[in-house]
């Protein structure tokens, strides 16, 4: 599994396409039979307290794409706070087992763990 992270609009999706994936292979904020999961953070925010339960099925994916949401002022609203913490923690767990982690900045990919296939 390759984990791709970065801010909103940083080029995560475009980068996934350069790995050979087509639009039909990208599951947007849902986990199904498609090999790429996009907008993981939206899935987590929907049920922050169940985030850990997503781990196993995400590890079976080829690519997981997640927005970095933890930088900024800690939100006052509880669900939002739990969502960004759960997203961060889930990404730490995914990164531990990922074959590669790519971080996007201004459309530029940096491999921060492992190697791309």
């Amino acid at each position: 599994m390759i984990l791709i992270v970065g801010g909103e609009g940083s080029g995560k999706w475009s980068f996934a396409k350069t790995l050979g994936y087509t639009e039909q292979e990208i599951a947007d904020a849902v986990i199904d039979e498609r090999p790429v999961v996009y907008h993981l953070e939206r899935l987590v925010f929907a049920q922050p307290e169940q985030a850990d339960a997503l781990l196993d099925s995400l590890l079976e994916k080829e690519v997981v794409i997640c927005c970095e949401v933890g930088s900024g002022i800690i939100p006052v609203e509880r669900n939002e706070r739990l969502g960004r913490e759960a997203t961060g923690r889930l990404c730490v767990l995914l990164a531990q087992q990922a074959q590669a982690v790519v971080r996007m900045v201004c459309g530029i990919p940096t491999v921060i763990k492992g190697e791309l296939p």
């Binding site: 949401v69 002022i73 982690v101």
Partner: protein, 180 residues
Amino acid sequence: MPNSRMILLTGGSACGKSSYGEELCMRLPFPRYYIAAMRPFGDGSEEKIARHRRLRSGKGFETIERYTDLQGLVLPERGTVLLECICNLTANEMFDEEGAWINPYETVVAGVEALRRQSDTLVVITNEVGTDSRTYDSGTQAYMDVIGRINRTLAQQADVVCELVCGLPLGRKGSLEDVF
């Protein structure tokens, strides 16, 4: 400050800063002090403190709760020190007893310096608070600005600066190989 090394760890919420800071300290000698700056009330801080305590247990840290005035803190011995975190410390130093705003910059920077003088290695955890798209009230805006300024000063003083992303340390200054 001879023989006093400082490592600054930054990153967003839940990016693995605390775990990584603890891991670094585990490779360094006793005594190990954990300076906790988070006050135990409001905004889910009780849960957070409990979680941090769980993660730290069995790692040989002596916890010292210190919410303000690091300059007045005297450690029992020189050793390995983990300070968590600049954002809480800054928030605690921002208001005087009457609740009026005071600029916490000098107090926080001098406090970290005082702690460093008593440490063989000081690991400081801070947070990236300036990267979201919202508009805040002037108090929060001032808080973000001063944290940014404190982070810049601490990074200048630190031997090593790492940004944590998904639990992975990205070197931003110096090298941990020089520390270990």
